[in-house]
């Protein structure tokens, strides 16, 4: 096993948060390395985003955009918390609204191509954001390490001293020593079968953080993006119909009947089609339709543009010339839709509001360990509507700064060789095990548990079955997991085997948190506890490993300014009240 690098700041993940953290650390003059599971700047969900960067109107005006001065930072703060069902860590929200303008300004200074919606959103594309940030990292002294699957944190007592990973191409276990580590590895969407996220979003570092003694928070909070293409295979997983339905089109059940207006109050329908709240509202409605037996053959609903007049479509095409979006030519799909057909769509696992527990300095329970972006939890409470791009820029910069400051004037701590040996033994065990369990089939089986029991609508019965199956796999199947492929180089079977173990730990944290929260709040919906309970449940659920066992507890939501209304209310009542509070 080789020691590859010894650095001040090690950033894991090269999506927006990782790129921005590396830029910050490098600018503060500390040695910085950026490790990616894939290729730098080609990994993670950032490049797949729509994308929007949100800030308050007054802040926008200060940085030279035509913003409404009356739309203050305070109002933006308030809105994010109302949208989050008051579960947000208000210190994290404070930091987000405070830094959004400066992070947006620097993107403009760095040459990002954008349009401005006149209110709160700078509109760009994920690939463009990625281009700008990657360009900025190349201008700084940063060591890039590609195709490394980081599996474990190395610690000395309560301090992080580095990480262990596998070079995927060489098939070699490697050690990376660092005075501080920034985790920016995104969500764990790939624990599910159907997702809008790329292959690298596995939650490996969520698992590593748990094993090393850090905490995870709000793991039950998962946003599903509705209207994701189920068919044809070449477009499966694409969110273009979701992008379009904010402008036009209908969602139909199996007989071709549009169902949204029947399912919801017109006020809710308007919110559903005009803000990112639509992800929650649409996903729930579509799930109910499918559970009722009115879904499409592949288990979704339909998106259709049959009722949209030709001239309106022509206008819309100006926004997507040739119906090209995010490097894909959707013109044959659009031709098919224009001919009167409907495309099968379904909710896909999309964004995680929960994750590694951090404070407003991106610090975790472990000294020298920071987390930024979607892999961290608490900012958006129970429901994200505001921009995750702003999140990655704000938190990325803060984490880079915190990590750099921690590492300055600090002597590197030695890694614990016994710990390294234990990790290496565990990582190589699939080569030595003689059992009958195989990674490809087991990966599918684990994903199916997530699909069946941890989807849009949960209940106690299903969650208990899911938890029992996950625990069974961890205790019985993992020790029997052996791999046929002997060669180490690009050994997909081996990497899958390693991914499975982390995925199991992450899913257990999520399923047990979902079971613990006996109410519905935001994106977490329990069919057996349909009401939101502000009297007892304004609490975050925290998961950590104590004595080797996953242990759950809860703590009150961190409130600095905004106290929530009291009482219990249904999903619809909650949205109607929120609409009033947001002044829509």
């Amino acid at each position: 096993m080789s020691e590859i690098v010894s650095t001040d700041v090690l950033v894991i993940g090269s999506g927006g948060a990782g790129l921005r953290a590396a830029i910050e650390a490098a600018d503060l003059g500390v040695s910085t390395a950026l490790v990616s599971y894939g290729a730098t700047g080609k990994s993670g969900a950032t490049m797949l985003a729509g994308a929007d960067v949100t800030l308050d109107g007054a802040g926008a005006a200060r940085i030279g955009l035509s913003g409404n001065e009356g739309d203050t930072e305070e109002k933006f703060f308030h809105d994010i918390i109302v949208q989050g069902y008051y579960l947000n860590n208000q210190r994290l929200v404070q930091t987000y609204v405070r830094d959004a303008p400066v992070r947006t300004k620097e993107l403009i200074d760095w040459g990002i191509k954008y349009s401005w919606d006149g209110k709160r959103a700078l509109l760009t594309q994920g690939v463009e954001l990625n281009r700008v940030l990657t360009e900025q990292t190349r201008k700084r002294k940063i060591a890039f390490l590609d195709d490394v699957y980081v599996t474990d944190l190395l610690t000395q007592g309560n301090t992080v001293v580095g990480v262990v990973g596998v070079d995927v191409n060489l098939g070699e276990v490697q050690v990376f020593k660092a005075k501080s580590v920034v985790v920016a590895t995104g969500g764990w969407q790939r624990a599910y079968s159907f997702t809008s996220a790329p292959g690298g979003n596995t939650g490996a570092m969520h698992g590593a953080a748990l094993r090393a003694g850090a905490s995870l928070v709000n793991m039950e909070m998962v946003t599903f993006c509705p209207n994701v293409i189920l068919w044809p295979p070449a477009l499966r997983g694409d969110i273009f119909p979701y992008i379009l339905i904010e402008r036009f089109g209908d969602l139909l059940e199996k007989h071709g009947r549009p169902f949204l207006r029947d399912e919801y109050d017109p006020k809710i329908y308007r919110i559903a089609t005009s803000t990112e709240w639509n992800k929650l509202i649409f996903s729930l409605a579509c799930t109910r339709i499918v559970m009722r037996g009115d879904g499409s053959p592949r288990g979704g609903t339909y998106y259709s543009i049959k009722t949209v007049p030709d001239n309106i479509l022509e206008e819309a095409e100006k926004e997507y010339p040739g119906w090209r979006w995010l490097r894909t030519d959707f013109s044959s799909l659009m031709d098919w839709l224009k001919a009167g057909n409907a495309v099968e769509v379904a909710p896909a696992a999309h964004y995680m509001e929960g994750g590694i527990l951090v404070d407003e300095h991106a610090a975790t329970a472990l000294k020298g360990l920071y987390a930024a972006g979607e892999c961290s939890g608490g900012l958006f409470g129970a429901n994200r509507v505001a921009s995750a791009i702003t999140q990655i820029l704000v938190q990325g910069a803060i984490a880079g700064k915190s990590a750099a400051e921690f590492s300055k004037n600090r002597q590197p701590k030695e890694a614990n060789n016994k710990q390294i040996d234990e990790i290496q033994t565990r990582l190589l065990s699939p080569f030595r095990n003689k059992g009958h369990v195989r990674a490809p089939a087991l990966k599918k089986r684990v994903r199916k548990i997530a699909d069946d029991y941890l989807w849009v609508l949960r209940n106690e019965h299903g969650l208990k079955i899911g938890i029992s199956e996950l625990e069974g796999i961890l205790s019985k199947d993992i020790p029997q997991l052996s791999i046929e492929t002997v060669t180490r180089s690009y050994n997909k079977e081996w990497i899958d085997a390693l991914e499975i173990e982390s995925t199991l730990q992450v899913l257990l944290a999520s399923a047990r948190s979902a079971l613990y929260r006996t109410e519905s709040r935001g994106v977490h919906n329990r069919s057996d506890f349909p009401l939101t309970n502000n009297n007892t449940w304004l609490r975050e659920i925290v998961a950590r490993t104590v004595g080797g066992k996953l242990t759950l507890s809860s703590r009150p939501a961190t409130v600095t300014k905004l106290k929530s209304p009291k009482g219990k209310f249904s999903f619809e009542q909650g949205i109607i009240r929120a609409v009033k509070e947001l002044g829509e």
Binding site: G199, P440, E493
Partner: protein
């Protein structure tokens, strides 16, 4: 089926040692790391639908790591 679907099928049911880029595949035509040669034409395996006989080669002029995985994409 897409070419990626075919490769996944082979991996899951026939030969788990097959090497093709998938660990960070975006599955949405953006990262381009799944670029291979499909019946003598370069294309993205995540996006190219196929029927009938299929020959897949690694991209030419890139160093091959193993099977269809090349360095530098």
């Amino acid at each position: 089926m897409t070419v990626m679907d075919v490769l996944d099928y082979i991996y899951e049911n026939i030969d788990p040692s097959i090497a093709y880029h998938s660990h960070t595949s975006c599955h949405r035509r953006v990262c381009a790391r799944c670029n291979v040669v499909i019946n003598n034409k370069p294309g993205l395996s995540c996006h190219t639908e196929v029927t009938g006989d299929l020959t897949i080669d690694p991209l030419p002029r890139y160093e091959v790591i193993r099977d269809l995985v090349v360095k530098g994409l």
